[in-house]
């Protein structure tokens, strides 16, 4: 059995057990009663509706927001990354400035800024598109992730030996053509583990969406606590921790396996 597999089994059994232990220690004899109280709330936390009737809130919202942000950030990140390795300083320096600025700013501040910077609704070609809190959250999260992906992109491209560039250019390829047809296909396997780590971080970051007022799992949790009283707060948060762990941990293990295979394990 491989090392990762052992860690995986240990984590998947151990961490829920640890959280259960914390739960029992905090509540003692009331544990049964508390479970009976929060059990009806589980669908609410997972999907934002009391009976799984709709899938637009709770933990599902976190997953959707993270997927959309990641999709946007991969496109913008690749563009910014191409700017980072551009030969012309007029493209490279501004790209590098934007990248550093976005990478060094706290996600919460960016989210807050987006909340106020983006209008309530925008008009495109006569259509009025309203920007819901979830859309603002997607944009706010995509910004810092863009910067990180640009950096991953740059690192991946630079890991490809320069001989590839030279031989392709001697065959008459232009720079962007080399990038698209020669370098990126080779760099992609190197970038995948880093991109997955980034997705994990992004998913963990979706917990901050609560400040934009999107109907994510933490907002739902806070609403439930406001209704059911502070007594259930610890239990609800243990459950939320467990949800995040069960989603992120397999990704982390998969990432480590991939890193092992590509041979770019972190120093």
């Amino acid at each position: 059995m491989s090392m990762q597999m052992r860690t995986f089994i240990l984590g998947m059994i151990g961490v829920p057990a640890l959280l259960a232990l914390v739960f029992l220690t905090v509540y003692g004899e009331q544990a049964g009663a508390i479970i009976a109280r929060i059990l009806p709330r589980v669908p609410m936390l997972l999907t934002g509706s009391a009976d799984f009737s709709s899938l637009e809130g709770g933990f599902v919202a976190n997953i959707l927001i993270s997927l959309w942000s990641m999709a946007i950030a991969i496109v913008t990140g690749a563009m910014l990354g191409t700017g980072l390795i551009a030969r012309s300083a007029f493209v490279r320096l501004p790209s590098s400035l934007v990248m550093n600025l976005l990478r060094n700013s706290p996600w919460l501040v960016v989210l807050f800024a987006m909340l106020y910077l983006l209008p309530f609704e925008i008009e495109i070609f006569g259509f009025t598109v309203s920007l819901s809190p979830a859309v603002k959250a997607v944009i706010g999260l995509a910004l810092p992730v863009t910067a990180n992906i640009a950096e991953i992109f740059r690192g991946g491209v630079q890991a490809i030996p320069s001989g590839q560039w030279e031989s392709a250019s001697s065959l008459g390829y232009r720079r962007l053509q080399i990038l698209r047809h020669v370098v990126i296909p080779q760099a992609l396997p190197l970038m995948v583990p880093n991109l997955m780590t980034m997705y994990s971080m992004l998913f963990i970051g979706t917990s901050l969406v609560v400040v934009t007022g999107a109907n994510d799992v933490l907002s739902v949790a806070r609403t439930i606590i406001a209704v059911d009283g502070d007594a259930v707060a610890t239990a609800i948060y243990i459950f939320v921790l467990l949800l995040f762990f069960l989603f992120c941990f397999p990704i982390a293990i998969l990432t480590r396996r991939l890193e092992h295979r590509v041979g770019t394990s972190h120093p």
């Binding site: 240990l10 600025l101 610890t234 921790l241």
Partner: protein
């Protein structure tokens, strides 16, 4: 778009912001100390394969690495008050929790980034050349002595670049404390926004402050890195 930063001239706001900045820095520094303590202790336990503790430490690392620090903070905040650790204020009869939002924030910062630090220090320890370790062992150093005098000093130096990232991440994460009403600079900013509605300007200001703090931390870490470098050892940067 016209930005109006005239509110920055208000001495009252200046006082607020400075106090908030002070809280942020204090919180980050205390969090850093806790982070290093947890990081070194955890790395020691995993590296020396202490029988039962190593498994617990691995669980601890995996749990804190794979869950959002914000949820951890809320969880700590509510759990510690749920466990009834409160004092009764003799003057007002109010029940105040022993663990204030500030303490919880420091604890959660230390725990989350500490879990990351364990991994970072551990990989630093693994990067120490095996000849050096074997040399120390053959000179009669015990396993713990080797760790204390050979592996840890070199491993910590080797883990400096990754640790710099972790320190910056800690400073950036510290603003989540505003959500449990710790009066740090983020919280102060939201209060000011409620008063003067200059949302964008206040957010830009806070953004600049955090970028400045992070850059300062990077510079400080580079300086420390240069100070403690063993001459002729390791990569020349």
């Amino acid at each position: 778009m016209n930005l109006d930063f005239s509110w920055l001239a208000d001495p009252y706001y200046q006082y607020w912001l400075l106090r908030g900045l002070g809280t942020t820095i204090l919180m980050s520094v205390l969090g850093l100390v806790l982070m290093m303590v947890i990081g070194i202790a955890g790395a020691l336990i995993i590296h020396l394969r202490v029988p039962v503790l190593a498994t617990w430490t691995t669980l601890f690392v995996e749990m804190f690495r794979n869950t959002p620090p914000l949820v951890q903070l809320f969880f700590l905040y509510f759990m510690l008050s749920e466990m009834g650790l409160t004092l009764t204020d003799p003057a007002t009869g109010q029940r105040i929790p022993i663990f204030s939002g500030f303490t919880c924030a420091v604890l959660s910062l230390g725990l989350y980034n500490g879990a990351l630090a364990i991994e970072i220090i551990r990989s630093g320890l693994l990067a120490v050349p095996s000849q050096t370790v074997e040399g120390a062992r053959s000179l009669g150093y015990s396993r713990v002595q080797t760790f204390r005098y050979i592996e840890l000093p070199i491993g910590l130096r080797l883990s400096m670049p990754a640790m710099t990232n972790n320190v910056v991440s800690l400073i950036k994460t510290s603003n989540q404390a505003a959500l449990v009403a710790v009066a740090d600079i983020m919280y102060t900013a939201t209060q000011i926004m409620l008063e003067n509605f200059r949302n964008l300007e206040v957010m830009i200001f806070v953004w600049v402050v955090y970028v400045a703090l992070s850059s300062l931390a990077v510079v400080a870490m580079r300086y420390i890195d240069r100070l403690i470098r063993i001459p002729g050892y390791g990569a020349v940067a």
